[in-house]
Amino acid sequence: MKRWDAIVIGAGHNGLVTACYLQRAGLDVLVLEKNDWVGGAAVSRSLTPGFTYSNCSYVCSLFRPEIMRDLELPRHGLQVIAYEGGAVLTQDGDFLGNYRDHEAHRREFARFSARDAEAYDRYSRDVTRQCRFIQPLLMRTAPDPTSLKPRDLGELLYLGRKFAGLGASEMAQTVRFWTMSISDFLDEYFETDVIKAYFALSGIIGTALGPMSPGTAYILLHHYMGEVDGSVGAWGYARGGMGAVTRALAASFQASGGTIRTGAAVDQVLVRNGKAEGVVLEGGEEVWANTVVSNADVKRTFLSLVDERDLPETFLRRVRNFKIRGSSGKVNIALDSLPEFPALPKDSPCLRGDLHFTDSVERMERGYDDWKAGRWSADPFLDVVIPTTLDPTMTSPGKHFMSCFVQYCPPKVEGRDWTDVDRDAFGETVISQIAEYSPGFRDRIVHMEVRTPRELEAEVGLTEGNIFQGELTFDQLLFNRPVPGYAQYRSPIGGLYMCGSSTHPGGGVMGAPGRNAAAEMLRDLKRGTRHMSAAHDVI
């Protein structure tokens, strides 16, 4: 029976990145995907004729350009297009636009506050400084602070030097950034509700915390450290939907000789004498391999794919307590014409970017209160994009795909499982919010897909539907991600690795966890990593 060099469980973007790098190192790699399609949470699917949806993730910025280059993703069809900033529509019938042009941006802020308009430079400087500190850490394995191995000591020293190089006030700022709430952080720069609400959104997306919860400032940073072709902080649309990312990865993998099996759900990781020997598929088929790497989140990997008796007690306890709470949902809508938002001026470029309808931090926090009570937010905040304003490949001319990211949405409804009735009511909450700002919106809807944490977990396999495979709070970052002592992609079981967003540096369609995991595996296998680019210099 064939024994593979490596099996990758799950064809999400990180699983595919790992698979590509391993295959290109000369290994014989098999990717197993439970769905009939690849992509995990970076998928494009056609659920109604004539429309392609980015069903889960919907915009691209974090995906590392080094990986795109190494794996030749442009050749395999990946194109990321930058978009205009967007707008927050306000309850008084106005809007706060976000323009790419610095002066237009300033004048727009000045409509609300002359002071805030001129505070943006300082804000932008401080956020950029922090991003520059963190960016180089994304493509490095986090050091184990308890280890005396030269590599760990070297990496710790690197981290320490970088930190020391910040200067006293920056150092203080870094610590504050990693621990403050986004609301408190923004209060240091801005006075206007809608301006703060606009920035605060990046601090809570995908997170079961409110804007007033400590630790949310870092999450803003996490959303700011991406780029589109060197334009730091910019976001773009993957042409053809987010599935373009994973389609290109799959094509790259197959072009280098890799094998993908879809419709092949893993039931168990085969463990003999504390070492992974392969997997058992649902249906009982055994597939053997020298190493196994799981793209599934840390809970799914160790609490359902591995026999708990094979795991050390402390590790198991920490995995059980890993915070991976569902906090968001998604509504994908096919529209037969471009919606109108009377608040926006005719021809406003803002329609081609993110649209929000939550104009104060307090409204966001109240939305979080609903989540704590086990309900979806009665007044949720939406991150709405219409990628088809810039991407002609997802539907026919004049028709549009609208992606609505919705927060907050609990993994269970008042303690019980979601029902279809709940799901439809959740969808209605979203539609009615949009319709308030866009008359005639309902009449344009051709089809829609409503996804609560229940659907996200069932289809993608994300525990509780948490989009980051675990909260991005400081207690779960760097050498503590996913759990202390196992932050270097290895697990307590020999030959079993992790490569998903549960690992450093965390979630978003970034690919860095997958790349770093491959590097560690190749190191253990004593294989070269010369086909892997080092992180681009931050100069």
Binding site: Q91, A104, R107, E108, R111, R129, L166
Partner: protein, 411 residues
């Protein structure tokens, strides 16, 4: 959820929604500039449409040095500082002694963050005992407002409300006299005075960015065009030319003036922590008055002086040859990299190759020997690499008696 909005039309911010349609603001003088502009060579000055040149930068430069050049300086950021505590407030913000700045006077100054790093430089106009105007390159409203806590003073942006013109050159005084600004010849350098214009007032100061005889005129935006026309008409006999930034930039380099975020990086824009500069590091140490009441950054600046921890120095360089050394690296003994040229031209007035450079101390400070610049001159598809000797020289590179003569000559 959207409230019905009675009186939507009353909300001023709704009226401003469409600003993005004109991404580059046109200044109050735009129609006059556009009529004289044959090049369509616009650039963005603080978000405004401003000309690099209108006809020919060479000829425009000589207008500054031979007749009168008219420059639209409306895009310059302007703040009004007013109130009973205006003087003590300014004393607190700026490094230079404000008590010595009498009403009717202007001085060049700078201000710093808590670490003593320069936030910007600019000119402070004392329009009255309790009223000032600050003109600068970058925007500082949050900083100025935060500094105002505890002072009985208001700070407001008047950049768009106030239009500005610079009239620079040997005939500028005569031209203003011809235009009816009686008594203009009595203004000494850095004096300002008010003159009637079209029922309003024009503020004229004997200031400028050229190192030549020259004046700056400020007026309410509504009176801008009539002011322009008044000068233009008077200029028909004396010679007047509207000019763009390229020519002005040559004149300012000859005068040895620095430009924020070109010759140094302002503290609120410095992303790299080591790019910030104290006044002493960009040639502005002479502005700092340690004896005056406390001002922001004072402790840090004095501490750095005491510990001799100032890392950089800004100097004027004279470079052999005639190839401008813009953005060239500066070396000691042709080997050790010690700095960078931030601005450089061949000076038509001095007939010398001049440059403004930032060097790492002690080079340019106590060690001025054996300095070289490496010039990469792109000539027809090839870099001509030149290693040229540089000598530290005092600024201004060009000193004109007519700049300070009072009363000024007519030409």
């Amino acid at each position: 959820m959207i409230a019905s909005v009675p009186g939507r039309e009353l909300n001023p911010r709704l009226a401003l929604q469409d600003h993005w349609r004109a991404m580059r603001r046109e200044t109050p003088f735009h129609s006059r500039l556009a009529a004289l502009d044959f090049r369509n060579d616009w650039y963005s000055w603080a978000g405004c449409k401003a000309p690099l040149s209108l006809w020919d930068e060479e000829l425009e430069y000589f207008a500054i040095r031979s007749q009168a050049a008219l420059i639209d300086i409306s895009p310059m950021v302007k703040y009004r500082i007013e109130g009973p505590d205006a003087e003590t407030y300014c004393e607190r913000v700026f490094v230079r002694n404000v008590a010595k700045l009498r009403p009717g006077r202007v001085h060049y100054t700078a201000w710093c963050d808590d670490e003593g790093h320069v936030l910007d430089d600019g000119t402070l106009f004392r329009l009255a005992e309790t009223r000032f105007r600050l003109c600068c390159q970058e925007r500082h409203l949050p900083w100025l407002l935060d500094s105002a806590i505890g002072f009985d003073v208001t700070v407001a942006d008047e950049t768009e409300a106030v239009a500005g013109l610079a009239l620079q050159g040997p005939t500028s005084c005569a031209l203003l006299k011809d235009a009816g600004f009686a008594g203009i010849e009595r203004l000494k350098p850095f004096d300002l005075a008010f003159f009637p214009h079209e029922g309003g007032t024009v503020t004229i100061s004997r200031t400028g960015f050229t190192g030549d005889l020259g004046y700056e005129l400020f007026v309410e935006a509504a009176d801008a065009l009539s002011l322009w026309d008044r000068l233009w008409e008077a200029g028909q006999l004396r010679g007047i030319r509207a000019i763009g930034y390229t020519a002005l930039n040559r004149a300012r380099i000859e005068a040895g003036f620095i430009v924020a975020n070109a010759d140094f990086v302002t503290a609120e824009h410095a992303i790299r922590a080591d790019r910030v500069r104290m006044p002493d590091e960009i040639g502005l140490g002479w502005l700092v008055d340690p004896g005056k009441p406390h001002f922001n950054g004072r402790r840090a600046i004095l501490e750095a002086r005491r510990r001799r921890s100032l890392g950089h120095v800004l100097v004027g360089l004279e470079i052999e040859g005639n190839v401008p050394a813009e953005h060239a690296l500066v070396y000691h003994a042709k080997k050790k990299e010690v700095g960078l040229v931030s601005a450089a031209i061949w000076s038509p007035m001095a007939k010398r190759n001049i440059a403004i450079a930032s060097l790492q101390r002690p080079y340019g400070d106590t060690r001025k020997d054996d300095l070289w610049v490496e010039i990469y001159a792109l000539r027809e598809g090839q870099y001509m690499k030149l290693m040229k000797r540089a000598t530290v020289v005092p600024r201004p590179f060009v000193k004109l008696d007519r700049r300070t003569a009072t009363p000024p000559a007519d030409a």
